[in-house]
Amino acid sequence: MKARVTVTLKNGVLDPQGKAIEGALKSLAIEGVGSVRQGKVFDIEIDAADADTARATLELACEKLLANTVIENYRVELV
């Protein structure tokens, strides 16, 4: 089974890297860019009996390692 885990900064957490990218996009005259927040994507292959088990395992992985839940949110998608 293939899964994609997306980790993003929580609202209100300053993201200086996102700000720098936003500034770079604006300097390239790319029209209409409001704001940019940077996150992480993990593409994971997982063996599991069914989708619910895979989802539960990946949520555990997020809680234990992939996300720092003080500042980050995560989303698990099976693809």
Binding site: V13, L14, P16, Q17, K64, L65, V70, I71
Partner: protein, 232 residues
């Protein structure tokens, strides 16, 4: 004072902190991160600076889940002393032994320079050789040292007097220019509720020898050795 210094893949300041501790009179033991216990009689566990696991995922995140960290957690829970410097401070936050997070420096640059710190209190095992409010001159060298915590956590730290050091200028003033990474309340180091776990971004171990330009860092290691002698 028996100090266990834990080396992770990518640690690079373990030798310096061992030298600083021995200079203060401590006995040091090297411990590999895959060990699941600390040597018998360990008084102080040290998480040294460096770039454990190449700073992959988040600084200190992977090291914080190593077997040795479970031993450090148990040591801290039984009242043992723990010192995390730079990458070690990041590990302590990732491991949940200290609150908050060290984010990318506000100015987005790695900062490597001499830095003044204000010692916030001297009634702890880590700072008794300093005066309260003393300004010390040490080094910083990090890209992710911008301390943040939610407002409740921050006010709890302040109310409990758990801020150990703040970035300041030579006169002890907390100016925006002196705050080298944008940390909230100019926080350079914090204690656990029991004051037995200290995490700090600056490197006191760099400044223990007049040969390299100063000795203001020695007080931290002298304090630790004195704490052990007083307890004996």
């Amino acid at each position: 004072m028996r100090a266990a210094i834990i080396t992770f893949p990518g640690s690079n300041r373990d030798g310096d902190v061992a030298r600083a501790l021995r200079h203060a009179g401590a006995e040091t033991v090297a411990v590999w991160h895959a060990e699941d216990s600390l040597p018998p009689g360990t008084d102080l566990a040290v998480l040294p600076g460096g770039f454990s696991y190449g700073d992959y995922l988040r600084c200190g995140a992977i090291a914080a889940r190593s077997p040795a960290m479970d031993a450090v957690r148990a040591h801290a829970a039984s009242g043992g002393l723990v010192l995390g410097i730079c990458n070690g401070f990041q590990m302590l936050c990732e491991a949940g032994l200290l609150p908050g997070v060290l984010m990318r420096n506000a100015q987005l640059r790695f900062v490597c320079r001499r830095q003044h710190l204000r010692v916030e209190r001297n009634d702890t095992a880590f700072t008794s050789a300093y005066a309260k409010g003393q300004v010390i001159d040490v080094c910083v060298a990090h890209g992710e040292g911008n301390y943040i915590a939610d407002p409740d956590t921050l006010s709890r730290l302040e109310d409990d007097g758990r801020v150990a050091f703040r970035y300041c200028d030579a006169g002890g003033e907390l100016t925006p220019e002196a705050n080298c990474n944008g940390s909230l309340n100019a926080i350079a180091g914090i204690w656990s509720p029991g004051f037995n776990v200290l995490g700090m971004m600056p490197h006191p171990e760099n400044l223990i020898d007049p040969l390299v330009g100063g000795t203001d860092g020695a007080g931290l290691f002298d304090s630790l050795c004195r704490a052990k002698a007083d307890a004996a």
